[in-house]
């Protein structure tokens, strides 16, 4: 068995209206104006495969899952790293994720990637925060706006994972 997890970090290269709305709401409606400098957003696909060359497979998956006219992406094999300068908050469904299941079925059955074992989807909110206690602020933001705890879970990605 040659198991690998292919992580695709995908972001809009055109203006992201959803991230702008989240920033506006946090700043204008929820009191984060002195702490929050910016908000950006990425989609994260974590695709588990049990055979094949992960680098080559990743390139094929990008062709299917990323619209290169408006999106950019970064491929990470068996690791998930983020840049310095923001707190990455990962939000995913803890109830069944129909879109992730559909993506898996599409890759496996329609597109013939039989080595795809599982697909997970998440949103990464990149919170550019000022000052101290950034993890506490990120937690407040996640629980105050980014998730509904009855269907979503979140994870503030540990400092150890935040690398240059």
């Amino acid at each position: 068995m040659n198991k690998h997890t292919i992580n695709l970090r995908v972001w809009l290269s055109i203006p992201d209206a959803e991230a702008a709305t989240v920033k506006n709401t946090l700043v204008r409606r929820m009191g984060f104006q002195d702490i929050l400098a910016d908000v950006k957003k990425e989609r994260l696909f974590s695709i588990e495969v049990d055979s094949g060359n992960p680098e080559e497979l990743a390139k094929d998956f990008v062709k299917e899952l990323v619209n290169e006219n408006k999106e950019s992406c970064k491929i990470l094999i068996d690791e998930l790293k983020f840049e310095l300068g923001y707190v990455p908050v990962k939000v995913a469904l803890h109830i069944e994720d129909g879109e992730a299941i559909s993506t898996r079925e599409r890759l496996r059955n329609r597109l013939g990637f039989k080595n795809v074992v599982d697909v997970k989807k998440a949103t990464i909110w990149k919170l550019y925060l000022k000052g101290q206690n950034q993890e506490r602020v990120a937690k407040e933001i996640a629980e105050g706006l980014l998730i509904n705890p009855h269907k979503d879970s979140y994870e503030i990605l540990a400092k150890a994972k935040i690398t240059a």
Partner: protein, 263 residues
């Protein structure tokens, strides 16, 4: 008796709601989200119509629930004024904590999951005419004030996220015990079959509408304003173009009756 029909960016059923309000003899006015929230106190009741407020960014209802007008609506609800949230309006009421009325987010309206023979047969957006059973006593809730318990109504649904889920294990029991479940999805004989197409979105216990403990805030996924006039009814409904009112009219008549009684 004046009703504010709320309008957020992306709301798309406000004009139908306004027509419905006026047709039952209430005064109505569109109330844009960016008007001074304090002006809401001039109204006797409120409707949050369906649509896609803020394009459902983050998740349906999340951004609209943070607007100052929602803070003002909480104050009006606390003094007993009626609020009906329809479809996206229901989602906004849930995200703002006005429903189920515990003051916090106690449930979610998650993505539709259609189950048949215990298998998922489809997911996501769906629109159709459905049957509803009124599961509360008359006068329990402002939106069904004049509707008998057990009455069957037909209305259209059109949503992608109406699947009521909760991590609070006691919530459903509490909603049932307090008669806060106002409408449930059922078949044409009133049977609450838990599977698609009767349970049209996978909602827990076929729940289509709930009210707060006081009964003055109602959230419902079906669209009563689209089943208000006989000409809106589908071709297979014998009441179509018959001169009879559509079943959705009862919801607006109920709101009017509640306001009359309250005054």
């Amino acid at each position: 008796m004046k009703i504010a029909v709320m309008q957020f960016p992306g709301t798309n059923c406000e004009h139908e709601c306004l027509v419905a309000v006026k047709t039952v003899g209430l005064d109505g006015e569109l109330f844009r989200w960016n008007r001074p929230a304090a002006e809401l106190s001039d109204f006797d009741g409120y409707i949050i119509p369906g649509g896609f407020a803020y394009q459902d960014r983050v998740r349906a209802g999340a951004i609209a629930s943070k607007e100052p007008v929602m803070g003002a609506l909480k104050e009006e609800a606390a003094i007993g004024k009626p609020i009906i949230g329809i479809c996206n309006g229901f989602q906004i009421l849930v995200e703002s904590g006005l429903l189920p009325g515990t003051g916090k987010i106690d449930m979610a309206l998650a993505q539709n999951v259609m189950v048949f023979n215990k298998k998922i047969v489809r997911r996501g957006y769906y629109c159709d005419w459905i049957n509803l059973k009124h599961d509360a006593m008359p006068k329990r809730c402002i939106g069904s004030f004049i509707i008998d318990k057990g009455a069957l109504l037909q209305m259209p649904i059109a949503h992608g996220e109406g699947n009521l889920v909760t991590m609070n294990k006691d919530l459903i029991k509490k909603l049932n015990e307090n008669s806060q479940v106002v409408f449930r999805y059922c078949d044409s004989q009133g049977r609450e079959i838990p599977e698609f197409p009767v349970n049209v979105n996978g909602s827990t216990e076929n729940i289509a509408a709930i009210c707060n403990p006081e009964g003055n805030v109602l959230g419902m996924m079906p669209h009563p304003e689209r089943a208000f006039f006989d000409y809106q009814l589908p071709p297979f409904d014998p009441r179509k173009n018959s001169g009879q009112a559509g079943p959705g009219r009862l919801v607006f008549e109920s709101m009017k009756r509640y306001i009359e009684v309250r005054k």
